[in-house]
């Protein structure tokens, strides 16, 4: 399982209310009908952290190793989609794969 804190975009000090707000905002951005996988990830993350008891349980018993995607999300979160520059187009059109 990916780090639920990163999935929801909250810190380890987040309260029940912070987590619920982050979940609701996430679902608004990624509604289940448009992005079911992302929604599923948000749902799992929310269920893992919903209450103080669950957050402590996660801290104590989650043994999943960090994934590369976790590390990337933590170090440099994905931003807004950007448009490649002409040089990037040129590289591909000239046959550099």
């Amino acid at each position: 399982m990916s780090d639920p804190y990163l999935t929801l975009g909250v810190t380890a000090k987040a309260t029940d209310a912070d987590i619920e707000a982050a979940y609701r905002a996430g679902v608004k951005r990624h509604p289940p009908e448009r992005d079911p996988q992302r929604f599923e990830a948000l749902r799992s993350a929310y269920e893992a952290l919903r209450t103080r008891r669950e957050r402590l349980g996660y801290e104590l018993f989650d043994t999943s190793p960090p994934t590369v995607s976790d590390i990337l999300d933590k170090a440099a979160p994905t931003g807004k989609p950007r448009r490649p520059d002409p040089a990037q187009f040129a590289a591909l059109l000239r046959g550099e794969s």
Partner: protein
Amino acid sequence: MSKKRNKRSAGNKPGPASLSSKALENAAQERLQQGRFREAIAHFKELLKREQREEWRQGLARAYEGRARDLAEKGMLKEALVMWENRHRLGAAAAPTHLAHTALLLRMGRVQEAVAIFNQAADTLPAGELAALRTQLAAFYLGGQAEVMQGLAPEDPVVLHGEAAQAALAAYCRGDDEALEQALSTIPFRSPYRDGVHILKALQRLPEQPTQAATLLARVPAESAFAPLRQAAELALVPEQQLASRLADVGKATRRFALTLRGWSPERQALFEEARKLGEHPPPKALLHFLYRHRDKLGDDWVHERARRLLIDDAPQSLAWPREAGGRSLSQAEKVQVGAWQAERQHGDPWYTLKCWELLAQHLEAPHVPAPGSDQALRIALVLRRVDQTEDILAHATPSAEPDALDRAVAQYVERSLDYDPDAPQAYLRLIGYYLRGKELKAARRLLEPALARWPENLQVLTAALDTAVAGGAFKKAAGFARRILTVDPINKTARERLVKAHLAHARKQLRNARPDLARRELEQASAWDRANRFDIQLEIVDALITLATDAPTGASALREVNQRLGDGLAAGLSLALEAAAVGISPKALFADLGLSKPQPRGSEDLKACLAQLREHLDSGGKLPPEVTRYFEKVLKASAHFELSFQEMEAACETLRRCRWDAVRQAFAQAALKRWKDAPVFAFHAFEAKYKGAPWYASSTDIRRLERALEHAREKGDTRSTERLLNVLDSLRPTAFEDFPLPPEMGEELGPEALPMLINLMGLDRLLDMLGLSRDMKRQFKELERELGRPALIKMLGAMLSADPDDLPPFPAPRPRRRTESRGHAVEDDAPSDDDDPFNQPDLFT
């Protein structure tokens, strides 16, 4: 050695020059088919030296093309280009212009040569190929090769639409969608830039309209010069979970393009490129070092926490890794936690895991016991409940008699956890359920009190209280809890029924205590709550029994009337008998007082109703008092011949098994076996009912019948009967005397001198079976008895059992028969085993 031989053999082989033209042509074609292009080139060249034939020139062109492709795939672009050039020199007739050739020229910056080839081929190439070549030139022009335009005619579409395509690309890159659309609108559909137009439109829609973008991208053919752009754009649409594996298959330029579209910053992309070098499944230590290398970006605490999850499999050696990677050392509690994780993941031993978590709890308790409700207290509670949570022990286990059993320890830890986290109703409920299963009512009540105080309206807690009260026979209390449940949840049907049952049970209790007045009051309550009239017969009978206690003639008359109304058969009799026994009246005496004859079955329907009533009684947790058993066993046994279907007969046997009325069950099973010969299910019931508790006494005829039934069950695929029959047959194979329940009067000090008594008691056959002797040995013992008499047999058996094998006459060594179950088949294992060998148990009789 082999190399030399190969060289020699290669040297002996005739070269192309020594072959006839026909043989050489065959060899050349063969090499071409096999993809051995270098040899094919040499052969065709030799052929062309001899004679300039068109088909050989074409063969050489194909060989050059194949070789060029091979070299390009290996990244040897210059060498590949030489091959294309050689092919090109063969002339347009033998080797028409090839797109791969021009693409390679363009890619190597030799634009003018590519354009020249295009111009030469413009009149000869088929329209489709010409269009593809134009698209190639267009793609390279858009990719910044302005030179493309220099050699092309001004009216060529590549030149005509080039400016608009460039403008569109520039507008897209700077985010000017209006200019983009304007530029795109000037490019006609049949332009060589068409694929580029589709891609730009798709990219424009990519973030908000992924489906439309995918449709537009799908219009770009895979062989188009714009296909690399399409591939990169499609990666932007791949779901997050699949991205890593898809990125592994593409080059760096494609990755950069796709990741930019996905919003990855250059920093993230650089980090990803570094992580890729660790492999698809990086080893934990490598990943840990990677984490610590970037801890300035990731944060010390996060790295420390996540890195601990990488230590589990290699602990305890791995516990030093964080320090080695430049991080801080693990605290003692953190090390213990890694140990507990490892125990859960690797050991599979709940005891060991329990001890590991216990150790962590101790560390968390030190140096000060935290206040209940604090985070630390909650951590301790969760740790103490962990094994119950993972193994789900308290939900199913019945308290063991052994105080140091695992379930006891788990229950003790969960109870301890309540000191730290009393706000855990599920922990209370699991414990209460666990103690109730073991009839440990005191423990259940101890937990119930605080739970009720804390959650007075919690339905689960109230139900647990109701269960506890019923288990303790406190029916008044039970009724009170049922009423409280109905206050919270007025439409709770189960609670309503349980309330009726509690009042009924209390009424019976009062009647037993000779308080018909109080019994009547309880009955009225029960009656008031039984709105669905589910218990009307029971209510009516209890009412009549109360009347019987105060006004015998009226009560008796009411009971007779009920009996008549219910059919005056077995089912009616059972209803009366069960209620009478529940208030302490013997069914026999009741029927005698009422002047009724003993209930008799009124047909198969009556029998089925009686059995259904028994099932219902057992389902509701009722017990069958011995006086009811005594009263009904004989009459039910006589009903075994009634005509019931196979399923009804099977259900009857199962019900009688639950009642533990084995004599009746045996009669039913035997009757069924007469109709359905060797039916496995009835063979099982007949045998189990006959030898219940003492299968060792089974006769060999019965055992053979059972084995036959097992075969039938396997043939029919009746897995339930197979399983049951195998269990019974397994129980027939004792491996030592300690498993055999000897009659109590024999006491514990049984020695070889007890053999005569045992032979008399169970017969020689069964004794020899029980000793686990082979068929051969049993035969020899029997012959011995026939020839020399029983004293000699006893002496021989005694010698065998007193342990010294050397004292035995030359019989083959006894080999116990052991039945092991393997993939559902019984296997006769004749291999001797030390544990099973009676000679290895010298004190068997001492």
